[in-house]
């Protein structure tokens, strides 16, 4: 084989992505900065001064942050428990976490419509046992979006954490305990710091996933709780306001890259210190 012929192996896929993914994206982003041949920031000024859009941007960030925190708070202990079980059990737990992950997001969001709906399971149970008289509005608000996001992305958090936790040497904990640390202290001083990489990978996945998800906010959020993704679609396909859709899309890309960049650089700093 000639010296550089491996480039031939890369070429088809590389050119395909360059022409059909990278190029349209660059066009979309650069197009949002131009107007009648000149460069302009006016669309961005409009976006950031319009309280309708800034509210949506802040809401999207807030919902993603809450979802990430909840997924971490629920996922960490679960992943820790899984990592301590026997290999066979662990396989079963991983399979049960992977299963929802591979199920259609439409199905998963739909299931929460059935549960949280006006005549859904939660309302039925609460009315029957007499806690409430009138059905609560559990659907089409920020609460239902967060439930949907946590449900959608927690498997990613659990799997990222299990991968890291099961590689932590159990002898370290025993060493800490034999040196007099309590179980809790051994956990905080040994296991938790070593699991931070998994926590960071999981958080990036949950956060960026929530930030860019469409199906869940569309089905569970209703018209009052729009997020960036549903607003891009609405502008592009319902209002035919393509310029605004392009601006929102660009803002979404920048926010996604910024957030994962910040979390990753934070992780690198932690690593170099530890």
């Amino acid at each position: 084989m000639k010296k550089h012929s491996f480039y031939l192996l890369l070429a088809p896929g590389f050119l395909f992505l360059l022409i059909f993914a990278v190029f349209p994206l660059i066009m979309l982003i650069s197009g949002s900065f131009t107007s009648e041949g000149g460069i302009t920031l006016s669309r961005y000024i409009d976006f950031f001064t319009d309280s309708y859009y800034t509210t949506i941007l802040l809401r999207t960030l807030k919902l993603s942050l809450i979802s990430t925190l909840v997924a971490a708070a629920l996922g960490f202990p679960t992943a820790y428990y899984i990592s301590k079980t026997s290999i066979n059990r662990r396989g079963l737990y991983i399979a049960l976490a992977v299963f929802p992950m591979l199920t259609s997001p439409v199905v998963r969001s739909f299931s929460w419509m059935v549960i949280l709906g006006k005549y859904g399971i939660v309302n039925n149970v609460l009315t029957k046992i007499g806690i409430i008289k009138e059905p609560l509005s559990l659907l089409y608000n920020e609460f239902s979006i967060v439930v949907g996001f946590v449900y959608l992305f927690m498997p990613l958090m659990i799997l990222s954490l299990v991968g890291v936790l099961e590689n932590i040497d159990k002898d370290l904990v025993m060493a800490a305990e034999s040196l007099g640390a309590t179980r809790f202290k051994a956990f905080m001083k040994v296991i938790f710091p070593l699991s931070v990489p998994g926590l960071i990978v999981g958080s990036v996945l949950v956060f960026t996933g929530s930030l860019t998800a469409y199906t869940t906010p569309q089905l569970l959020g209703g018209t009052k709780s729009r997020v960036l993704a549903t607003v891009i679609y609405q502008n592009a396909m319902t209002l035919f306001n393509w310029d605004t859709a392009a601006v929102v899309a660009t803002v979404m890309i920048v926010v996604t890259i910024l957030v994962s960049g910040i979390i990753n650089s934070f992780a690198r700093k932690l690593n170099s210190r530890g």
């Binding site: 491996f6 480039y7 190029f23 991983i94 997001p105 998963r108 299931s111 419509m113 891009i232």
Partner: protein, 261 residues
């Protein structure tokens, strides 16, 4: 186990209950006889299962989704396997750059990618909708192919390859008779993962479907927004059965533990 572990076990159990209960509820309600989704169902009926097959749009979009996902995955494998091979086999300048290009579609929000494809492939370049839909699916599939194939190549012993060539086989023959059979399970797992992700995709398809050409998830999304009957629950059960079958195959080939890597 001591007291503290019991608490942890209960916690993990509740989290799994949260993850699985909604799917169980969907499963149960799909067999109910009523027109609305009632849990627990007041009886047993296959009415809604049968109803899926009566709705032509579901039949039609199921076939389109199947076709799109299978063709898309094959195209992505044809371009992705050589690329993954080059990226894992050789060390060269710019390797990281190529690697990040191949994995980049996973970082780009699907909704943004879908919109840019509509704008620049369909509207400006006048590509047919179906072709654009296929291109979009190949793009989102690529990272899965590259990642899974690379990870199975990382455990491949390249000295076997050298042995084959020293015995006179050329590079291409070696690839097909030695390398490919050895990463077979990786290829199968990559195929399945890519297929599932393509089949379930919403954000790309959302922009590129319209009257005439639509995919199953988009059709389901439209149906859910206007009707609230157990048809979607029944359809969900069929999709879950498909997922379970494909997971079983992944378990037999690459192993589900791959997901926790």
């Amino acid at each position: 186990m001591n007291k503290k572990s019991t608490g942890l076990r209960v916690f993990a159990f509740l989290v799994y209950f949260f993850l699985l209960a909604p799917l169980v509820i969907i499963f149960a309600t799909s067999f109910g006889p009523d027109k609305s989704l009632i849990f627990p169902p007041k009886g047993f009926s296959l009415k809604w299962m049968a109803n899926i097959f009566k709705i032509e749009m579901f039949r039609k979009t199921f076939l389109i989704s199947m076709q799109l996902s299978i063709i898309g995955t094959i195209i992505a494998l044809i371009m992705g396997i050589p690329a993954a091979y080059a990226l894992s086999r050789y060390n060269f300048k710019g390797k990281n750059f190529f690697n990040s290009i191949f994995l980049s579609p996973v970082l780009i929000p699907g909704i943004v990618l879908g919109f840019s494809l509509l704008k620049y492939l369909v509207i400006y370049s006048k590509l047919p909708v179906y072709t654009s839909l296929l291109i979009g699916h190949v793009i989102i599939i690529m990272p899965y192919i590259i990642r899974v194939i690379s990870s199975s190549l990382s455990s491949f012993d390249y000295s076997i390859e050298e042995a084959s060539m020293s015995l006179g086989a050329n590079k291409i023959k070696t690839f097909f008779t030695v390398v490919l059979p050895n990463i077979r399970s990786g290829v199968i797992a990559a195929f399945i993962l890519a297929f599932i992700n393509s089949f379930n995709n919403v954000p790309i398809s959302l922009f590129l479907t319209g009257p005439g050409i639509s995919t199953l998830p988009i059709q389901m999304l439209i149906h859910v927004e206007y009707n609230f009957d157990p048809t979607i629950a029944a359809l969900s059960v069929i999709l879950m059965a498909m997922t379970a079958l494909l997971m079983f195959i992944i378990e037999k080939t690459l192993g589900l533990a791959y997901f926790a890597k």
